[in-house]
């Protein structure tokens, strides 16, 4: 599938200077768009997109870049998305454009730099040249190629070695109805120096009514030896939006990536969490929760590549599906021949609340080392009728019993969230979402 609209958009973008930046940037962008032209949008023939058709995105003909005109938001508009914590380091992007006035002006501790991408092209070109496009490969991945060609908006987070940043960094990507018809190709880079530690939250939210826009976000993360990065992605895009979001990490020795991905928004949404365990003793803990309803199609793919000995991965993803929604989970674990003593566990559990909801779950283990411990399991079930009866027999009403059981299903992964404010929000979202749900059974 070729995509003349984006190719035409690119020529115009390049003719206008390609968004500025250092001299190596435009050639990188051009290499990426050429690669995208060759790859085209993925089709279901592509193993990685087997259960998800992106033709609505291809046919949507979204124009790359922020819309020409965009409403001014005020601080109170974004308050609902800030977890009641004005003291976090927060960068706000409205329809793909950095908004300094809405962002917090909190002094960064020593050894911590947090800037928007546009400023970083100017102030940290060497850092960007070293890492941008090096972690998130665009040779095989069409959406990453597209993102690399047009990348704008997003943040650069740099931690010096041994720095422990206790204040979370919160990136808020807000879309308004002005975004209709446009595509935001957001790019974030996180470089965690050796033995540093930080928490980064990415929120993808919409306000002011449903709008059909396309978010295509890529976050590259470099975890040097001994670094710990907690990364939380919260995706609650507009119900008419399209979203493809990728976190791609490369991990050094003894580093630890702790990822949580929440997906509840979008008409068609895909989250990719990819990591390369590239140093001995490194590991990844991935948790995810997807709550779907209506006609939503939401796909999550994770890929953990064990490339060194004694690496570990722990993964639990849970899905709750109502209405006529369709969920997909594809969990890939590769163990390279040199990655002996790999210890991997993966689990995916799904709860179907209606007869029309469906889920495709596909654990995928490819193991080329002989001394490893890898397990996986997947379940698809409905609310336990006996447990419902048990609760009702104690006086708990049918509606409340359903809510409690649904919440209990999700609780295991919500409890894994380290930030209490985010955990509380997720608890509330999970309970609220299923208030009054007829739940079909």
């Amino acid at each position: 599938m070729t995509a003349p609209v984006v190719l035409r958009d690119f020529e115009q973008f390049a003719a206008n200077g390609g968004g500025g930046g250092p001299s190596w940037l435009l050639p990188l962008r051009r290499a990426a768009i050429d690669r995208f032209a060759a790859l085209g949008y993925p089709t279901p023939k592509n193993e990685d997109w087997h259960f998800t058709s992106v033709s609505p995105i291809a046919e949507g003909a979204f124009h790359a870049g922020p819309p020409a005109a965009s409403v001014r938001l005020e601080a109170k508009d974004i308050e609902p998305f800030t977890f009641g914590r004005p003291d976090w380091i927060r960068l706000v992007f409205v329809n793909g454009r950095f908004d300094g006035a809405l962002s917090s002006d909190i002094a960064r501790p020593r050894g911590v730099r947090v800037t928007d991408l546009a400023a970083a092209w100017r102030d940290q070109p060497d850092l960007l040249e070293r890492h941008i496009g090096k972690v998130a490969d665009f040779q095989q991945t069409a959406f990453t190629a597209l993102n690399t060609a047009f990348m704008h908006g997003g943040a650069v987070i740099q931690l010096a070695p041994n720095v422990q940043l206790d204040t979370p960094v919160h990136l808020v990507f807000v879309s308004t109805p002005d975004a209709a018809g446009s595509a935001s190709h957001l790019r974030t880079l996180i470089v965690a120096g050796h033995h540093s530690k930080a928490t980064v939250v990415e929120s993808y939210v919409s306000m002011g009514g449903a709008a059909g826009y396309f978010t295509n976000a890529v976050t590259e993360a470099v975890l040097e030896d001994g670094a710990t990065l907690a990364h939380l992605k919260l995706q609650t895009e507009s119900e008419r939006a399209f979203h493809v979001g990728t976190l791609q990490a490369r991990q050094g020795r003894d580093s630890h990536l702790v990822s949580f991905s929440y997906a509840a928004g979008g008409e068609l949404a895909r989250t990719n969490i990819y990591t390369l365990l590239n140093g001995e003793g490194s590991g990844a803990t991935l948790h995810g929760l997807y709550l779907l309803d209506g006609e939503q199609h939401v796909d999550q793919q994770t890929r953990i590549e064990h490339a060194s000995p004694n690496t570990f991965s722990r993964e639990v993803y849970k899905g709750i599906l109502d209405g006529a929604s369709h969920g997909v989970f594809n969990g890939q674990v590769y163990v390279r021949p040199e990655a002996q003593k790999t210890d991997g566990k993966q689990e995916n559990n799904n709860l179907l609340l209606s007869a029309q909801a469906r889920v495709d779950t596909k654990p995928q283990l490819e193991i080329f080392a002989d001394d490893v411990k890898c397990t996986h399991g997947a379940t698809v079930g409905r609310l336990d009728e006996l447990a419902l009866f048990y609760m009702k027999s104690r006086g708990i009403g049918a509606e409340r019993a359903r809510k409690l059981l649904t919440y209990a299903f999700a609780a295991g992964v919500i409890e894994a969230v380290g930030l209490p404010e985010v955990r509380a929000e997720l608890e509330a979202l999970t309970l609220r979402r299923f208030t009054g749900a007829a739940a079909g059974s």
Binding site: S393, G395, G397
Partner: protein
Amino acid sequence: MLDIRELQARVGGGTEILKGITLQVKAGEVHAVMGPNGSGKSTLAQVLAGNPAYEVTGGTATLDGADLLAMQPEERAHAGLFMAFQYPVEIPGVSNAYFLRSAYNEIRKAHGEEEVDPLEFLDIMEKNLALVDMEQSMLNRSVNAGFSGGEKKRNEILQMAVLRPRLAILDETDSGLDIDALRIVAEGVNKLRRPDNATIVVTHYQRLLNHIVPDYVHVLSAGRIVKSGGKELAFELEEKGYDWLESPAEAVA
């Protein structure tokens, strides 16, 4: 208090398991319902509690004059019915404390009473925990998840103690219990006896009745009560088994 007349029930379109049960229980009484496997004694407990897996095909059952069979399970609980499950259900992710407080408050709400907050509820729990010899720490554990058989049954009695039902039905609460657990459970039940409540003990064995002494014993066979008597009937059954009772029942069928 409880008035059952000619009650008939089956599972999902099958043949009747209860073929016409008639039983009256008055306030202050303890009734034992005994019978061999498959006689319908557990079915009777499940039907009274409103398990949706069972279908009532005939007869009536009222609690204090109200039509039990027309009520949802939660409404039966609000009306004062409690069934201790033979196999208590595990609910991972919901703490015992939250579960019990929700149940307690929903019953209060149904009676137009104020809900209690978590602190007040803790006070209520403390008294009742001692009754079944349970640690306070079990309140933070998920409902029945990973509990031993004895712990599950004690948890049922704990719920009963907190919810203070008018009519408690113990469905084979003694099955799978060792003698210590049996004693704790039985003592709990005895302490909860009041002149204004009643208990139905469904059991296969006589041994529980050494601890909870019934006023009446009813023997079920093939879906009917084939014999009723005082507590001495339980001893007779223990001695002779159920075989001597089954033939007349079959003759009737």
